[in-house]
Symmetry: C2
Subunit: 331 residues, 2 copies
């Protein structure tokens, strides 16, 4: 029997374990061209909260009663496809099941000798691609500019900051604990950090950390932190809106400082970023990220939760900022 | 003696006549290379409200005790510059004086035989350039798309809508009276209009006027109207933030619906637009606008106030939406 996690009900506000349901199913028959794979690592990410809402978005909402799905690395345990052998590993967007029969469309082979398997969900996977492409495609960084990153100790944020340093930017990270901000400096090389939970006046703290103003803002959180950044942007600032985790659980429409006057005054830009819009650039960028990783110009932190049954709790913990870096479940 | 209007005090909230002061000064001596010019038309525009605040912006604030300045068309009445003859007309950013001695830097000659003098402040001047360049450079319009224009009966808005129609867009105009919305349809060819003052549910009204969603939003107003547009944007929508007249008089920091979740969901873009950033394109675009005007593909409305002494009141009336199209003072 195969363990599966179903999406039981749509959360109102903060998701809870009650929104998930464990079930079991029979193994399916393997047809020509297909693979039978066994889950190795499952990725839990903020964007999944969006798919739990019924609202129209860039990807369809999860269906109640069906399995959830996210990024997964899985081992091929049986193959009826010439391109894939038993014992090889693949990554792709797959349902939360311990084992399943899959078509090979949308799957990439991954090599456990080049990098640890979980890195294919993180720094050289969607996380790294998001960081690199968001920063380059919208941020258009120029050496010497100042970059502010919110959610800086998260999976994407910690990579954004490191790429910023590789490109010669002044990098300021905002995170939610002294332990996290210490790590941003010691491990990821951020120039300055702000613990938003212990800072009374964020607007002033950003001004102090960015004496030349903010040219690029990589926004993972939205809400009051992003409002405070607005007061410090420079002319022609670029704001990459990659996520708004601070408001994902809101039951009312979130409000905040009106951005329009800041945009007009500064000829500034805000643009929503979704990595899948840039799929054509994935191979080239993944190669660059892998090179930097090998050259030790990039490093990463991950929070690994053991056990398939802990996947829902891992998701909830990630939403509450209990992760450092990429949160993955080792099945 | 020359009449001058000084900036007497910074308005708090809505400006009043008390913020302006009339004075007189002696005529100055004309030096080599200079012109003596007599004001013909003075432009009053929303952006002047921004310069009345002390806050840092893309142009320095007006200085209290000094003359205000804005776009002006003036007649050369004496010349010590070979390039300009008595009786010719020039346009440029000039202090609010009935007569003055000026250097020729930043002045353009204008031809009263090609178009009425006031048009050089409007449809073939800064107004038309703003409409054309904002729509093209940020809006990147594609035939068949849907364009929403706020402040549609204003100087810039009415030109934006007409250019939208020339480019084959569906054009929806938002304005503040039935007289204005009627004019948008009959005179400027808008496809649909909304009177925001008599519409209870703006979000729904926009949805009905834009059955295929909103691809481009040319925003002159900010505030609740712009919030309502957000709920109707399409994937990859472009929002040109050209002005935020609805909040210019606010004494507190304006708030509204948080835009970030809408931008992420729709991979949408918001960008502040200031026409002076695109100065290199002015000659080419002005030529295009003049051609369209001659071909009667473009038309315009202006509200002409007579008398230099009425300039402050004309500005206040324009801020309150009492103008239709471009507001100018005939000196």
């Amino acid at each position: 029997m195969i363990d599966t996690i179903l999406f039981k009900s749509r959360p109102v506000g903060e998701p809870t374990l009650d929104n998930f349901e464990f079930t079991q199913e029979e193994t399916a028959e393997l047809k020509d061209g297909q693979l039978r794979v066994k889950a190795a690592y499952i990725s839990v990410d903020p964007y999944l909260r969006g798919r739990m809402s019924a609202a129209k978005s860039y990807i369809p909402p999860f269906e109640v009663g069906k399995p959830l799905l996210s990024g997964m690395v899985a081992e091929v345990i049986e193959s009826k496809n010439e391109g894939f052998k038993k014992g090889e590993f693949v990554s792709g967007m797959l349902p939360w099941k311990t084992e399943q029969v899959v078509a090979t469309e949308g799957l990439q082979k991954v090599d456990p000798n080049l990098a640890p398997l979980s890195a294919y969900l993180g720094i050289i996977g969607m996380t790294g691609l998001t960081a690199y492409l968001g920063l380059h495609e919208i941020g258009k960084p120029k050496e010497g500019e100042t970059l502010v990153v919110s959610g800086a100790a998260g999976a994407v944020g910690s990579v954004v900051g490191q790429i910023g340093k590789i490109l010669g930017l002044r990098v300021i990270g905002i995170a939610g604990s002294d332990e996290k901000t210490a790590m941003l400096k010691s491990k990821f090389g951020f120039d300055a950090t702000i613990n938003y939970k212990t800072t009374e006046n964020m607007q002033q703290a950003i001004a102090e950390a960015a004496p030349n103003g903010v040219d690029i803002y990589f926004d993972n959180v939205g809400g009051p932190i992003s409002d405070a950044v607005l007061f410090n942007i420079n002319r022609f600032a670029r704001m990459i809106i990659c996520g708004a985790i601070s408001v994902y659980n809101n039951t009312e429409i979130p409000t905040g400082v009106a951005v329009q006057p800041f945009l007009v005054k500064n000829s500034a830009l805000m643009q929503g970023f979704i990595v899948s819009n840039y799929a054509a650039k994935f191979p080239e960028v993944a190669k660059q990220l892998a090179n930097w990783l090998q050259q030790e110009k990039l490093t990463y932190t991950e929070t690994v939760v053991e056990g398939f049954k802990n996947t829902p709790q891992a998701f909830l913990d990630m939403m509450n900022g209990k992760n450092k870096g990429k949160m993955v479940v080792k099945v």
